[in-house]
Subunit: 334 residues, 2 copies
C-alpha cells in the first residue's frame, strides 16, 4: 500500500517548487504557461488528489469547504428531505456536508457539536433539541456560523429557517371546523417543543376565530412518536364525548392514529375525520386519500444552506429569519 502522492511528489516530478504547484491548483498568482502544463501533467500521472485534512488545518475557513448538519433523526422523512435540500445547495457551491444524527439525545447533540468543531467545519445547520442551549449560544458568540432550522433558540439572535407551524395548524383546523366539526381532538408535541406549541396555538386560533370554546380534554401532549399517536388517539376516542375529527401534529403521530383507526375499523371521514401535519409517501393513495399539512422540508434545508453560505461570507450582518409557509393539501379524509 503505497501512500498517496502529495504536493511534494508532484513538485518533484514536475521539477518545480511546491508553492508553484499549489498556486497552479488554486489559480492564485501568475504562473507561466508551460510550467502550468508540466505541473498538470505530473498531477495526472501521479493521480494526485489534495489532502483536505491538511488544507483545513492550514486554512480552516477558506479551504475544503465543509459544513455540518446535525439532525434529530434521519429516519424521519421530514429531516431526510431537509437533509437533501441542504446537500443539494451545498453541492452546487462545491461544499461537502458532514451529516450527523443525534437521535434527540442531548449528549449526542453535544458530542457532534464538538466533533464538528474539531473538524473545523465552516458552518453548522441544526434543529436544536432545546430552546435554551448554552453550548450553541456559546458557539454563535465565538463566531461559528450557525443556522437553526425547524426549531429555534429563545433569546438568541441567530439565522433561522422555520415553517409557519401556527398558520399551518390554523388552516387545517379551520378546514375541519368549516366542514362542521365542533369537537376536534389534537395530538401535539411536548410542552417544551416550540413546534408542538405553535401547532397547538394554531389549533386554538382556529377555534377562537370561529367562536368555539376549546374543550381542554381534547388536547393531548406527547412525543412526536408513533406510539404516542396510538395511545392518545385511543384515549381520545374513548372519551365519553369523543371527537369527530383528529388533528395529529406530526407524521409519526399520524401513523399511530391510523393504527387505531385500522384496529377499530373506523371509516374515514364518516366516522372520524383526520388531518395530519407532514405529508407522507402513501398519503395520497390511502383509502381515502389523506388531507395533510405539507411542510416545505426540502426548501427549509435549501434556504438554510444558502443562509449559511451568506453568513460564512459576511459574519457581521444581522441575523436573518425566514418563515416558510406550509400548505394544506386537501384530499378526502375530512
Amino acid at each position: 500500500m503505497k501512500s498517496k502522492p502529495s504536493l511534494i511528489d508532484v513538485a518533484k516530478r514536475a521539477k518545480v517548487a511546491v508553492s508553484t504547484v499549489s498556486r497552479t491548483i488554486s489559480g492564485k498568482g501568475a504562473i507561466g504557461q508551460e510550467t502550468q502544463e508540466s505541473v498538470r501533467r505530473a498531477m495526472r500521472e501521479l493521480g494526485y488528489q489534495p489532502n483536505r485534512v491538511a488544507q483545513r488545518l492550514r486554512s480552516p475557513t477558506n479551504a475544503g469547504g465543509l459544513i455540518g448538519l446535525i439532525i434529530p433523526n434521519i429516519q424521519n422523512p421530514f429531516f431526510a428531505d431537509l437533509a437533501r435540500g441542504v446537500e443539494d445547495a451545498a453541492y452546487a457551491q462545491g461544499h461537502a456536508v458532514f451529516l450527523c444524527n443525534y437521535d434527540e439525545d442531548p449528549e449526542k447533540q453535544q458530542l457532534y457539536l464538538q466533533v464538528l468543531q474539531g473538524e473545523s467545519v465552516a458552518g453548522v445547520i441544526i434543529p436544536p433539541l432545546n430552546e435554551d442551549d448554552p453550548e450553541i449560544e456559546r458557539l454563535v458568540r465565538a463566531g461559528l456560523p450557525i443556522v437553526c432550522v425547524d426549531r429555534s433558540l429563545k433569546n438568541c439572535p441567530i439565522d433561522k429557517v422555520e415553517v409557519d407551524n401556527r398558520r399551518g395548524a390554523f388552516e387545517a383546523v379551520r378546514h375541519l371546523i368549516e366542514k362542521g366539526h365542533r369537537r376536534v381532538g389534537v395530538i401535539t408535541g411536548p410542552a417544551h417543543s416550540s413546534t408542538g406549541r405553535d401547532r397547538l396555538a394554531g389549533y386554538r386560533d382556529a377555534h377562537a376565530a370561529a367562536g368555539i370554546n376549546v374543550d381542554e380534554e381534547l388536547i393531548c401532549y406527547g412525543e412526536f412518536k408513533e406510539d404516542c399517536g396510538r395511545r392518545f388517539a385511543a384515549q381520545l376516542l374513548d372519551l365519553r364525548k369523543p371527537p369527530t375529527a383528529l388533528f395529529t401534529c406530526s407524521n409519526l403521530t399520524t401513523i399511530g392514529a391510523l393504527h387505531v383507526v385500522a384496529e377499530r375499523k373506523l371509516r374515514i371521514p364518516d366516522q372520524l375525520a383526520l388531518i395530519g401535519f407532514d405529508d407522507m409517501l402513501l398519503a395520497d393513495v390511502y383509502t381515502p386519500p389523506l388531507t395533510m399539512v405539507s411542510q416545505p422540508s426540502y426548501d427549509v434545508g435549501r434556504c438554510a444552506a444558502e443562509l449559511l453560505f451568506k453568513r460564512m461570507q459576511n459574519s457581521k450582518q444581522s441575523p436573518t429569519n425566514i418563515l416558510l409557509s406550509p400548505k394544506l393539501i386537501i384530499r378526502k379524509s375530512v
Copy 2:
C-alpha cells in the same frame, strides 16, 4: 472571535511540555499523578477540545475515528434505515460517520469518493452504483477498507453485506402462486442492477418451482422510481390478458403502482393482488394492509459497520460476505 485553545495553550497554562499534555490525553506512557491533575485542570479551564483535523493529519489511521458512508439517496427509507444502522454501530465504537448522498449520479459518487479520501477516512461503506467500478477497485487495492452494501462489485473480492433478494422475491411470488395467481406482473429494476436482476430471478424461480411458464410480456424493467411503477402498472393492467397480481420490486415502484390502483379504483386483493419489495410506514394501516417483503435495512447498515471495523483492525483477512434474509410479511393484499 478568539481562536480555540490548542495543546500548546494547555501546556503553557499547566507549565508542562506539549508532549506531556498529549500523553495525558491519550493515556500512553507514564505520567505523574500531580502532573496529570494540573494538565486536566488547565484543559478544563481553557475548555480545550482536540483538533480532529490536526489529529488526522498527524496519524490518519488511529486518530479521530471517521468513516464514510456514501448512499444513493437519503430520501429512500431503505437507505435512511441503513444509514441509521451504520451510525449507531459507529457511535458505539466512538467513530463519527461522514454521510454523503450521491443521488445515483456516477460523477457525484466519484466526487464523494475523492472527498472521503481527502478527508483521510478510516474506511468507507457504499452501495456501488455499478457492478464494475474501476475507482472503487483501485481504492480497495490501495488498501482503503471498503464494505459494499445492498449492491456489490463483480469480479472483485471485497467485504459485503447484502440482502437475499432472490429468496425474498421467490417467497413473495410463491405466496402469490399459492393463492392461485397464474399471471403475476412484475416491475423490476433495470437490467444492469443486480438487485433488480436477483429479484426477477426469484420471480422466475417461483414460477419454475410451480411448473408455470412465465409470460415474458408480464415482465417490466424500469428504474426503481415512482414514475416507473406508475407507468408499468398501467401498461400491465392494459394488457389484453392483464395480470391478476403485481409484484413490485421496490418501495418507490410500489407507490407508483398504488397510484394506478387508486386512479382505477381497483379493489385489493379481489381485483388485483399486490406484493411489494420493501416494507413502508403506512403499509400496515393501508386498506387493506399490504403484504410486503421487508428488508433488514437497519441490520445491513449495522453489519456493514461492524465488518468495516474488523477490516480496519486487520487489513489482511480475506473478504467476508454476509447475506441477510428478507422477510415476507403477510397481511391482506393477496
